[in-house]
Amino acid sequence: MREIFVLTEHRQKQIRDITFEMLTKGKELADKTNTELTAVLFGKDVGNHAKTLSDHAKKVLLVEDAKLENFNSEAYQKVLSNLIRERKPLLTLIGHTSFGVDLAPSLAVSLDVPLATDCIDLEFENGTLTVTRQMYSGKVNVKAVLRNAESYIATIRQATFPVKKEAPMNGEIIEVPSPLSEEITKKRFIEYVLPPPRGVDITAAEVLVGIGRGIKDVGNIPLVEELATTLGGTLACSRPIVDKGWLPNDRQVGSSGKTIKPKLYFALGISGAFQHIVGMKNSELIIAVNKDPKAPIFGVADYGVIEDLFKIVPPLKSKINELKGQKT
């Protein structure tokens, strides 16, 4: 029976969530296409991971090698391309993560297998892979069809397929000898680095005021910071603000920053790129102010204001001060 491969992503002894999300989607696709779900696991001393994965897949292909201890796209590509050549899976799923984007494109080229990246949905129509993805800062969805092929590779957006609890599958663990006879010489993993915290822990704040591109200029930040202070909250931001060096990265909300769950998240001038949304969508109350009525942020906000943030912030600050004045 043909297979659907899911490449296991693990780091610092943990299987990452994306793996289980892909296994959930992979199971659904395997059922529909009459194929078998196979988890592919590379690493060193990762027998415990193989056991965990056997609950979620029919088979676990395990390749252990000291050269596979940490993710290295050169080593991973050699081993995975061997497996794909031998077993010809219908589809190989890889996370659209920092690991996945480093691996999938050159892997696809080396195998001459068509690749679709950052997919938010996938289906087979008459044996051809059709995917859903987003373009233009998440403002449009695209249905796209891949070139007809025997085998496909797709990278999957994180936090897109909710993991379903299913009965353990008791998958068979198959140890595959490592094909890596020579040293990996072109690319070398050295270490993980976690930049030291700089004092502000936005994950602990009950009220966060987040700013995005709409703030326009670093000189406008104090205005919003005053609002945050008035609300007894802390200033947070989306990625572009950190990229510009306007706020330090410990203020960044999103997949490459912090995941927050405050009582109130006030999003000002944040359009709501997917990477930001995953970091804040579970906030208890979300109020968003943005000039663009189609900004994706309004898809997760409880209340939305289609307006220039600079018109809203000053009167809002005085209203809140008024309310606070009444209290005392």
Binding site: R147, V242, L285, P315, L323
Partner: protein, 262 residues
């Protein structure tokens, strides 16, 4: 150090309302403002900094129509020495794979130590061109690069992972590095610099000269083809607060009061 930087001329859409056109496969682009892809802007700056540090040259390459020359002019103004535009009506419909093939044809005959690309483009978001290009050229690559240190033989890199974590890796040169935003602060260019850039030559190369056949580019040479574009389905829609800014501010204040947040 000779650095090639691959750039893309795209519409700014993060802060703009966009509409799907009547083909249903593209957006209406007439009213949009085009410029250099944000990720490529950081790659360009990094290329110029490498040149300033090590000497050598920076060559900017784009695949695009005549409009894309303004992005190449920007590269020249910023410090690129040469600019090349690869163009052909047959390139229309190319995905990241086809674009990488087109780029590889001109790059393979070029002396270089490093190729820089943006980690992704703000329009299609494929995030593949750099790594595919490396695969086609048979050289190593690294994506999501946030820091580059090099002695000319190898490059020691910091790659951005999730949740604020980074990894340090080393690649042998020549290599392709796909640059993440925030790696540097792209500089502003003086009016003088912009004027000087207007006089520099932009080399234009077409399909035949690249030695590519029609079925290697465009939709025919791509892995993926857009069938349909549509507005993302709305799972939940915010309740919109309307009125004058004063009225809206009062409504927000009431909501916060009702929730005990003020």
């Amino acid at each position: 150090m000779d650095v090639i930087v691959c750039v893309k001329h795209i519409p700014e859409t993060a802060e703009t309302d966009i509409k799907i056109d009547n083909t249903g496969k593209a957006i209406e682009k007439n009213d949009l403002v085009f410029g250099i892809n944000e990720w490529d802007d950081y790659a360009l700056e990094e290329a110029v900094r490498l040149k300033e540090k090590f000497g050598g040259t920076v060559t900017a390459i784009t695949v695009g129509s005549e409009d894309a020359e303004s992005t190449l002019r920007k590269c020249l103004a910023r410090g690129a020495d040469k600019a090349i535009r690869l163009t052909d009506p047959k390139f229309e419909g190319s995905d990241g794979y086809a674009i990488a093939k087109i780029l590889s044809k001109v790059i393979k005959d070029f002396p270089f130590n490093l190729i820089l690309t943006g980690a992704q483009a703000g329009d299609d978001g494929y995030a593949v061109v750099g790594a595919i290009l490396a695969g086609l050229l048979g050289i190593p690559h690294a994506t999501m690069v946030k820091k580059i240190e090099s002695n000319g033989e190898v490059a020691k890199l910091s790659r951005e992972l999730e949740g604020g974590l980074e990894e340090i890796v080393e690649v042998k040169l020549p290599a392709v590095l796909a640059i993440q935003t925030g790696i540097n602060e792209p500089r502003y260019v003086s009016i003088m610099g912009t004027r000087k850039a207007m006089q520099k030559e932009i080399k234009v190369i077409g399909l035949a000269e690249l030695g590519l056949s029609e079925n290697e580019v465009g939709e025919a040479g791509s892995w993926i083809k857009i069938e349909k574009m549509y507005a993302p389905p709305i799972e939940k829609q915010a309740e919109f607060l309307k009125g004058s800014p004063e009225e809206i501010a009062s409504k927000i204040a009431e909501i916060l009061k009702a929730r005990g947040l003020v």
